[in-house]
């Protein structure tokens, strides 16, 4: 009441402009609130993930001790006499991710060096979109490729290979993460100032020496971050491994045998009949939590390396 009279006294001549300004401010406020709510909603997703995973995982741990879960060597949750040792699933994820890294790390890094140091703009303009297409192909397609092309190929080379095997899954996941590694590494290489290269050339270095001894070391933080990010994608990769690696929890390092990854188990369990509230249902969340924590840790480490060891030029 009091500020209305004060305002009316101040701009007696223009009450219309005043109410216009007031409604305009109100509208601005409301819009700001809506926009803020949208941005805040993104944090709700993380909150939702954590609450959902944690809730069911805690229920799961009231039936199964965390020690047995983390260090048990047998995973047979749907058997008469169930065992809940997650190690075989972790071994599956590890073998696939390690195999994928063996392919994607050297190929990705060398491609990045080629695209950033050797290829001219025209060649780069042709090659880069192709790698982008490779990155955009759905993972179920890679699964098909692994099962119908890579596995038969492996079986002619190494006849003891099982129909479902971790090796073919690792190979396609490796192909799949080449673009992740190469494009992030290339960004890091290109961020190295030209002056550093010119300095090395001035000292008589060859292009290879410049690339390997000047550019790569200067971009190392970005390159390593790209490796970790690629690995984290390999661990989280689902369809290709569910199709190609099979559904046999198998604590081994022999990639030519059938293995089940954490992701493939989650798919298998949710395809099957696992009633809400059963221990089978809860295993989805316990394994999902494990997967979430592992990939989150890798992503955080990769970001930390980027920010901590970034070389600041200029």
């Amino acid at each position: 009441m009091s500020d209305v009279t004060r305002a009316a006294g101040a701009v007696e001549a223009e009450p219309a402009a005043l109410s216009f300004r007031r409604s305009r401010n109100l509208k601005e406020r409301a819009i700001g609130l809506i926009l803020f709510a949208s941005a805040a909603a993104s944090t709700l997703i993380t909150l939702g993930i954590v609450v959902v995973l944690l809730g069911e995982t805690l229920t799961f741990f009231s039936h199964v001790s965390p020690v047995k879960f983390l260090f048990g060597t047998q995973w047979t949750p749907l058997f008469q006499n169930p065992r809940f040792g997650v190690l075989p699933l972790m071994a599956g994820s590890f073998v696939v991710a390690a195999g994928a890294a063996v392919i994607a790390v050297p190929v990705g890094l060398l491609s990045a060096i080629f695209l950033s140091e050797y290829a001219g703009p025209r060649l780069r303009g042709v090659l880069k979109p192709m790698l982008e297409i490779l990155a955009g192909i759905p993972t179920v397609v890679y699964g098909y490729f692994a099962l119908t092309f890579i596995t038969p190929l492996l079986r002619t080379v190494h006849p003891a290979t099982e129909i479902f095997n971790a090796a073919s899954a690792a190979i396609v996941v490796g192909i799949m993460i080449i673009p992740t590694v190469s494009s992030l590494s290339e960004d890091a290489l290109r961020a190295v100032p030209t002056a550093l290269r010119e300095g090395a050339y001035g000292l008589g270095a060859t292009k290879m020496e410049v690339s390997l001894r000047v550019v790569v070391p200067s971009a190392l933080s970005g390159i390593i971050a790209s490796f970790i990010l690629g690995l984290s994608r390999a661990v989280g990769e689902t369809m290709a491994v569910a199709i190609a690696a099979g559904n046999m929890p198998n604590l081994t390092l022999n990639a030519f045998e059938s293995m089940q990854t954490m992701t493939a188990y989650i798919v298998q369990a949710s395809l099957g009949d696992t009633p809400h509230g059963s221990i089978g249902y809860q295993t989805i969340f316990a394994v999902g939590m494990t997967l979430f924590l592992i990939t989150l840790a890798m992503n955080v480490i990769s970001q930390w390396i980027l920010s901590r060891f970034r070389e600041e030029y200029e």
Partner: protein
């Protein structure tokens, strides 16, 4: 010509020649590594075309799934994919763009803003199957939406939200500050500046990012298995609560059968999916190029 003068006046030694040969070998190695990706793409497409083209005809596109391979088609999956894509876009686009506007134009530098930003970056790295678990627990069970189109669309919307937010932020950031300052100078409010100046200029970039995010969504399989899109569906969805299937799920369903006839169907289904993907990517590239020519 092989006896270049070295900077110190002498001719090239054997060691110099070795360095140069090594350099040439390394260049070849790098080139070959780049070709690995390209070759993999070529083999993949060739393999798919060889397996899938014979089954790909008009009947394949207009028939429902069937237990008889010769009569099976992708109609339900194709229609389901289009439904899901439309709904996902409707849900994810406004929220993502609003969030991006807030972060770029409204937010002050505070710990809350930094937290939101950090969170979005981390969400982009969460495996898609974890979103599936979230969708299963929240939309299917807690909200009681069941194994329906809307559950699937909500789950995929969450999945691509961080991707669209980051792309939109980049597009908004690329609008020159002078545009905003001029508008403020004329007495525009913040929202007027955003809605009349910033958004129109950033829209091509935002749309490009959205299309690319949607082309990721259309190939997603794992989260939809979690929210229970079933493999054998012989009808198209009529409403938000209907069960559904999508192309990648139908493909997965065919791949997981032992008979090779179904594998050929899977390959044909993949070709349909890839054509859809390529169309979306082409649209994004055309938008991007037009956008670049403006500046």
């Amino acid at each position: 010509m092989s006896d270049h003068l070295s900077p110190l006046g002498g001719t090239h030694s054997a060691r110099d020649r070795r360095r140069r040969t090594l350099g040439a070998v390394f260049a070849l190695l790098c080139g070959a590594a780049t070709l690995v990706g390209v070759a993999a793409l070529a083999v993949l497409l060739w393999d798919l075309a060889a397996d899938g083209l014979p089954s790909l005809d008009g009947r394949f596109l207009t028939s429902f799934a069937s237990r008889v391979p010769e009569r099976a088609g992708v109609k339900a999956a194709l229609v389901g994919s289009v439904w899901l894509l439309g709904l996902t876009a409707l849900i994810a686009f406004p929220v993502s763009v609003a969030a991006a506007i807030y972060l770029e134009e409204y937010a002050r530098r505070s710990w809350a803003t930094r937290l939101i930003q950090l969170n979005i970056a981390n969400l982009a790295g969460v495996p898609s199957i974890v979103y599936g678990i979230l969708g299963l627990a929240v939309f299917v069970r807690t909200f009681g939406l069941g194994r329906s189109v809307i559950s699937g669309a909500l789950t995929l919307a969450l999945l691509i939200l961080p991707v669209i937010i980051m792309a939109s932020q980049e597009a908004i950031r690329a609008v020159p500050p002078s545009i905003r300052e001029a508008a403020y100078g004329l007495g525009a409010t913040r929202w007027q500046v955003v809605s009349m100046q910033v958004l129109p200029m950033a829209m091509p970039g935002i749309l490009t990012g959205t299309i690319l995010a949607l082309s990721r969504a259309i190939g997603e399989t794992a989260p939809l298995i979690m929210v229970g899109a079933v493999g054998f569906i012989a009808f198209t969805p009529k409403g938000l609560g209907d069960p559904f299937t999508v192309l990648p799920l139908q493909i997965y369903n065919w791949i997981s059968r032992p008979q090779t006839e179904f594998h050929a169907l899977a390959a044909a289904g993949i070709l349909v999916l890839l054509v859809l993907l390529l169309t979306m990517n082409a649209a994004a590239i055309i938008l991007r190029n037009r956008y670049q020519s403006y500046r």
